[in-house]
Symmetry: D2
Subunit: 343 residues, 4 copies
């Protein structure tokens, strides 16, 4: 039995509480939020959970092994660092922290102490993304990854649409693709005076001809959640709006053959076209958050690394930071700092 | 009755021939193509049309008032210039020419001679685009223009996907928006060694907070032809795949109000949300090319400027050229040369 | 404050409990179910609610003013009659009872005692159906009503797909159309030996040229929930699968004009076609069940008739019964018994 | 080289002419139509084809081996019989004739003379229907066939929507299913005074639990062309509106197992659910009419039976006739006369 505390009971916290509550291996001991009125309904529904405004209560409870943090991004670093220093395992909402330096320090602290540091990139645990990762290994050379995530969404006031939405696509891409981006060019705009960007376009470059692009937008009349993943053998469409056929695999593409017969330009290729069947594989419909929390608990027990560990959280913050800097310079290319190799 | 000659009888030429043939005001006198086998079927179907491999025949026929050019881009300048110098009105396939300088010289030549120089941007004459232009004037401050034009398409060997596909979206945007872009950042990639880019992303900046983005791609598993046009009062979706409801107007968006009561930050705004009806207006289903050719003939008769005249063709080439240069520098911002003011 | 008891805590009961719990005017006092293990989670979540296996506890509690019944159809009559005889207002799951006679007796009992008898036809309280009813009054002469409700659904063992699914469409139709059907022809089939029909087609005739048709099916590979409602002025499509644009109004149809100039057949008409805009009106997204329960409580307080009262429940059972008899005779026409006029 | 004449140059005739013209094995010699103005454009486009108002010209030309008839249904019998009696092979538009007796006499005449009698059921030659027929053999016991063919369509004045549209679905069903219907119950309505039915619903019964249903409608706001074909192993959706993925095979359905352990009702079954992948097979995109005409010419040469021969044309007319009689009696069941066995 692993003792758990949750801090932050706003938009996402209730989902953490509901799922921890349902997992037999977890004992949900505390929920903490500064706005106590949010906690009102909790006591009658989950009478065995303690409620507090004081984060220290969680840190001081020796039966709390792990703390899940679902507060605004700006507070992630402080709360996660306190928890790690108190010897607690930590699950943090995405993104892991507000700056690269903060993220790096959390990773270092967790590794030094041998504690689990996980980031709540819930999409990685959906049946659709797990299937896409599995399929991506067999579609040949990957040409591009193109994601669109737009709708009339909640404008965040302390972070741009990149930190709010692109973080999802960056983490899915990081999970699905074997390669990691080396540079980014981003553009975007704010349409509300004084507020961060509500529309953004990111192009990510890699060391070969793979290219990735992400379009995120809080101000669209329709909801689109579509990713194209094209390989030399097959092409995948991941449409998260579809109720059941979220993943479609197209057996189509181009074929390349040398262009000329004899003394032609050696490098040029003739392009042919190939079309075949489309398959929509059945997907595991288990709730993603439940899978993720179960994995977190297993990692605490075994010392295994979670799917989205601190290092992947740090990689995401590096990308978000680089994209934001490029956007500020209207698309100027920014190199991505590569992952430090840990001894 | 206006005498017409068509040069180029490959992919698009037959459409020009079929439509000119059906318009009573036009007398289609010549069709010219270097590959005579293409012209074989013409004689039996349209016995009154003369067939030739020799462009001079069209230039020398004093009953030919206008020449339509549907040959590869690289030959546009030479053929159009010859036609203008022979005193013929000219309709050229898009893009008008392969370089800014060529386009500029054609515009100058036509203006000097008082001849009609039109560019075949057929989409501008569709019911959908005409309706979008009409509606765009009433949707408030325009926030962004976002176009996607992807499918498994014919790889062109002498021009990138920007020159082949983005030219459509740039000309539609030019027609629909009152503003003109001031700078561009483009990215893209070629996946066929030695060939031009088959995927590209263009961001266009304007003098205010308007931003435009175009995604063009010859290597997509599904066909998407969708444009989002968001204004402060209404938002429009133009989906060219839809058989009839191609234009949808959404009466939704955000509302802005001052954030605080008293001494708060003066510049910040509170964002609210507004949702309402969606309307799909009935569209004129007349064939776009027929409308375009009729307009071309009217302009010859009256001296009026066609919807897509030489100057708009030149503007498009400037954008294509700037985008290509930005792409070569992985997104570096390129300023758009502004239109020369004609005296 | 109106005291409420709920009997039946299987598939639908938890929705009743959750909604009654959230309505300040209701005091949910009892939940009753024979399978006590279903009630286990209730006590911790709603500690103030009493739990029992004994329906008498609800009948005997003088603070219980109303009872909601969410048990299998076969038990509706007995439980509802007991409740009415104990002086309780009653809300019953659809269909109100298993036979016309049972339904009639419940209606009579409620009317005699001046108690509210409501049927839980939840769809009538959705924004989409309320909008369709509102629009139907302005679409001219109604030509037809065509509903399809199919998917891979739960096979019921004690009732056919007509009683399980067609009851939804019949009640929506009853609510939307001013006319009432006079006869029915139904066909269908069971594909599981010994079990009731899992696919059925109902045609309903009216006193004029209006015709209605309902296709219900538990064994379809895709989910379809679409209703076409065609009038002489406008045509409506109600697609319940659409996340937001569930109702679309098409300004199209036919026009009729006398066929000939002089001595032609006087009765024949020339048919023309008319097409116009399509409008998807914004819909009220309030939860339908909450609206319905609030209305039930208001009716108890004021004596008003609920949208789906006992009489409409009885009409539905008459239709279900007639359709089942027609189906057994492979489409033989069955007249619908008309509503008894109450003094 | 087979000499061909076409009679009827209205809506469909031009398609026959264009396709016969393009087939090297056919020599299109005559086109005949009473309304000579329709033929005006023919001469310039196909100068080698003779034009006439006089059907006798085709009959008398000894180089005409086969005649294709694309005139209104009421004239099919007379023209086809004349052609057969003149020793010509015949291809007739669907339906083959206006009555069962006429159809029977044409079949008898053709068989007696050893001439090919084919019916132009073009859909049978599409890639989608050929794939569906191929797949249907492997989907297990077939439960039902459900077809919807509705849109705002041309009201025919001399035949109901059953003869105009249901004939397509009946012939596809006849081609795809191994079984043949034994009885029909049909309902429908005319909404134009004095004109035939514009909406109709047909239920077809077979000797086992297979059931088929067809909904045809000239007065619908949206275009739907969807067929569900459910088998015990797989279920197929054929959606003719889809541009490329017209056929989808769903690996899902129900599973049946004996209900109880011991002394339970022996006949009843427990229903389980099974879901799996969906596959959209690639389809042959060859033009269906061209395939059909080539097959017709091959049959003339070899004596083979065409896919849609006179007997299948006769079966369709029997179904259309029975459905029309049932409709006139508001769904009364009508037995289908079974095919006469030819010696």
């Amino acid at each position: 039995m692993i003792g758990v505390g949750v801090v932050g009971y706003g938009y996402w916290g209730p989902n953490l509480v509901r799922n921890f509550w349902a997992i037999p291996d977890a004992q949900l001991r505390w929920v903490c939020d500064l706005q106590t009125e949010r906690l009102a309904g909790l006591r009658s529904r989950f009478p065995s959970i303690e409620i507090t405004e004081n984060f220290e209560d969680l840190l001081n409870d020796s039966k709390v092994d792990a703390i899940a943090i679902a507060t605004p991004v700006s507070s992630h670093f402080k709360l996660a660092m306190q928890a790690l220093k108190a010897g607690k395992h930590v699950l943090v909402e995405k993104p892991i922290a507000a700056t690269v330096e903060e993220a790096q320090r959390l990773v270092d602290e967790a590794e030094r102490r041998g504690l689990v540091l996980a980031v709540d990139h819930t999409f990685l645990h959906t049946g659709a993304v797990r299937k896409m990762r599995e399929l991506a290994a067999h579609i040949g050379t990957i040409y591009y990854y193109d994601a669109v995530r737009v709708n009339l969404g909640l404008f965040q006031q302390d972070s741009s649409v990149i930190w709010d939405l692109a973080v999802h696509d960056l983490s899915i891409m990081d999970h699905v693709l074997p390669q990691r981006p080396t540079a980014v060019s981003a553009t975007g705009m704010s349409h509300v005076p004084g507020e961060p960007e509500n529309i953004a376009y990111l192009t990510l470059f890699f060391s070969d001809t793979l290219i990735a692009h992400i379009h995120v937008n809080w101000l669209a009349p329709v909801k689109i959640r579509r990713t194209l993943l094209a390989g030399s053998k097959q092409m995948i469409v991941y449409d998260d709006i579809e109720p059941s056929e979220k993943i479609k695999v197209y057996d189509k593409g181009i074929t390349l053959s040398p262009k000329g017969r004899s003394g032609d330009a050696a490098n040029t290729m003739k392009v042919g076209y190939r079309t075949g069947d489309m398959l929509a594989p059945q997907l595991d419909m288990t709730e993603a958050l439940e899978r993720e929390l179960r994995e977190f608990l297993v990692c605490i027990g075994t010392g295994a690394r979670p799917t989205a560990d601190g290092r992947s959280g740090l990689r995401m913050v590096r990308l978000l930071d680089a994209a934001s800097r490029s956007l500020a310079q209207r698309g100027a290319i920014i190199q991505i700092e590569q992952e430090r190799v840990f001894a």
